[in-house]
């Protein structure tokens, strides 16, 4: 099995602070970490490798410092890391990002399985996995909660939709996106950390992956962010204290007003 796992570095918190004086959004001092959903993708790649043999490569697109998430992946058992970085990627939306990633994945051919986290903590679009599959002309199974088997050039997965689980089978190579239920990511071992520290990360530019410059970055992005602001979530809340009888009565009255009881 040759596995590719696509990962992203995201801010370690989704908390957005506003400077009380300037009313500006403050993002300074936010650390970059491996996107939580991608930790499940990395772990699953390692588990598939352990079950069926083979090797796993992690790919990320981002600035130079994003190489840290590749080292995080290597520390838990991924064999090598590829950093796709180029100023030409600046301003890429999901279409341009998935295209750029598809070029890197192409360069890593042959492969059997591409695993992505279902979405990222920051953008939460969930689009890059399915769009990557489309660029590659491969089937995509989103929201995988369990890989049931990999056999005879096919994969069988269970995925979670709103009101049911569906078991799907499809030929390899394929792309899957995984949800939290799939596994519990392991903690890196000391040996893993050492290996990660010493690992050589391949650094590829747009040209290295033969990416069409009109399809990446701002130019290759059909969608443009024209404004960003912090929403005001105002609840005219009231807080009630008292013994169980009083508070239960308060709740009962509220539920009654709302027609629940």
């Amino acid at each position: 099995m040759r596995i590719i796992v696509c990962i992203k570095q995201v801010p370690d918190t989704i908390e957005v602070k506003i400077d009380p004086e300037t009313r500006r959004i403050v993002r300074e001092g936010v650390k970059g970490v491996l996107n939580p959903f991608d930790a499940y993708a990395v772990e699953e790649a390692v588990r598939v490798k352990e079950r069926f043999g083979g090797e796993a490569t992690a790919v990320t697109m981002g600035p130079q410092q994003a190489e840290q998430v590749l080292r995080d992946a290597i520390a838990v058992g991924i064999d090598r890391g590829v950093l796709l970085t180029d100023r030409k990627f600046v301003g890429s939306d999901t279409l341009a990002t998935s295209y750029a990633l598809s070029r890197a994945v192409k360069k890593l051919e042959p492969f059997d399985l591409v695993i992505c986290g279902f979405e990222t903590l920051d953008g939460s679009t969930g689009q890059v996995g399915p769009e990557l599959a489309t660029h590659l002309g491969l089937p995509c199974i989103p929201y995988v909660s369990k890989i049931l088997s990999v056999d005879n050039g096919r994969i069988e997965c269970r995925r979670l939709l709103e009101d049911h689980y569906e078991t799907l089978s499809c030929p390899l190579p394929a792309v899957i996106t995984v949800i939290k239920e799939i596994n519990e990511p392991r903690i890196p071992s000391l040996r893993g950390l050492l290996k990660a520290k010493k690992a050589e990360i391949a650094v590829w530019s747009a040209q290295d992956v033969a990416a069409d410059e009109r399809r990446i970055g701002h130019e290759g992005s059909p969608t443009w962010v024209v404004d960003i602001w912090k929403p005001v979530i105002s609840k005219e809340g009231r807080v009630v204290k008292g013994d169980a009888e009083e508070t239960a009565e308060e709740l009962f009255r509220q539920l009654k007003t709302m027609g629940v009881v």
Partner: protein
């Protein structure tokens, strides 16, 4: 192309570095450097006190035939032979955009023996329904849905294509947008038409709802978005709803299916958090998995679904499909009752837009109270039984 910083004007004050939501800017001491993390969101442009930053807009020429793309399309998602409520909300959003845009509203419906659903859409003001009726479309099939919608868009050239941001919509719409080479904005909480430019204005939360972004697709057609359920009321039946159903033959599409559905296992009713009107959610304060029985009992009594915080799921007290929050489901019920949930930011991200939030927690300083309409400081193990007693006696009487 990209972010341009006028070094003559720049005083290296560092405001741009501070405000960048993506930490893409660094002050090296003699200049501001822009990294690849920049998404050109324009936050720094807006905040720079010296007006030293601008976005070099490369001329993205409108598609030569963009004027040919007309009409507001929505994907009419059905489940088990019934339109989902989100479909009727989309129709309602499309009809209100028609007021500004003046173009026709068309539904795209895939299913089996779905004529009744097409008629229902028309009664509610949809002017055209493109119906593809075939046994293999009775339930969601990723590849067939993507292939057929892509081909219909190529054939009829709508200016706008909307779908619900359900798991189905978010699974196959990206493939459609990608095949068409156009933009797609995920999980919008608002869609409208700019009265001047007639462009589709897409508003969506980012950073778990802690930031909002406004997004345009200027030069590519169609403009595509998935829209979060429950953002507007469903379109009502009109006294004079008239329209046409256009049947498209399944066999006329080059559907190539490589994925086979082996089986489907329904989740118990109480887990369908997205459609639930009321959700009762439990967190660490429950103390033990078996205490979820109390929550289930309460939920049963008031006809609610059962949710949970990450802490409760990670402790193995309840299965993952119940999880609400950043790494679980995003929900927007009419009433959300948080029991013993402290309200970590990652949980708030999944429920803070609920219409009415009730929080019961022992800790008066719990952050959940900041988003609650009604906060109760107290012990759930005393309050819930007392409340249930009242509800039962009210029902009995």
């Amino acid at each position: 192309m990209g972010l341009a910083i006028d070094r003559e004007k720049c005083t290296l004050c560092g405001v741009c570095v501070e405000v960048c939501p993506f930490s893409a800017l660094t002050n090296t001491g003699d200049r501001i450097e822009v990294s690849e993390a920049c998404t050109l969101c324009g936050q720094c442009v807006k905040e720079c006190p010296e007006k030293a930053i601008s976005i070099e807009e490369k001329p993205q020429a409108p598609a030569a035939d963009s004027a040919q793309y007309r009409g507001i399309w929505f994907f009419a998602e059905q489940r088990k032979g019934a339109l989902i409520p989100a479909t009727l909300e989309l129709l309602s959003a499309a009809l209100s955009m028609k007021q500004t845009l003046g173009e026709e509203v068309c539904g795209v419906l895939f299913g089996h023996q779905a004529d009744g659903l097409a008629d229902d859409l028309i009664k509610r003001g949809c002017e055209k329904v493109y119906l593809v009726d075939h046994p293999s479309l009775a339930e969601f099939q990723d590849e067939a849905y993507a292939c057929i919608l892509t081909h219909l868009v190529r054939k009829y050239k709508p200016g706008i294509v909307l779908a619900s941001a359900t798991m189905v919509g978010r699974a196959f719409i990206p493939s459609v947008a990608c095949q068409l080479g156009t933009g797609l904005t995920a999980d919008c909480t608002g869609v409208s038409i700019d009265p001047e430019t007639k462009l589709l204005v897409q508003t969506r939360p980012t950073f778990g709802g802690n930031l909002m972004a406004r997004i345009l697709c200027r030069a590519h057609r169609p403009q595509m978005a998935t829209v979060r359920p429950k953002m507007c009321d469903p379109a009502p039946v009109l006294p004079d709803g008239k329209g046409t159903v256009i049947r498209e033959e399944y066999s006329s599409f080059p559907v190539c299916v490589s994925m086979t559905s082996v089986r489907r296992e329904s989740l118990e009713q109480t887990v369908d958090l997205q459609s639930a009107e009321i959700i009762v959610s439990g967190g660490r304060g429950l103390g033990d998995g078996k205490n979820f029985d109390l929550l289930r009992e309460f939920a049963d009594l008031i006809g609610a679904a059962v949710g949970a915080s990450r802490a409760a799921v990670d402790s193995g007290w309840i299965a993952y499909p119940h999880q609400v929050g950043q790494t679980g489901r995003t929900v927007k019920p009419k009433i959300y009752i948080a029991c013993g949930i402290s309200g970590a930011i990652q949980h708030l991200a999944g429920m803070q837009t609920s219409d009415y939030i009730i929080a019961i927690n022992k800790d008066p300083d719990a952050p959940i109270f900041k988003v609650a309409n009604l906060g109760i400081v107290g012990d759930i193990f005393e309050i819930l039984p007392a409340l249930m007693k009242k509800i039962r006696s009210a029902k009995g009487g």
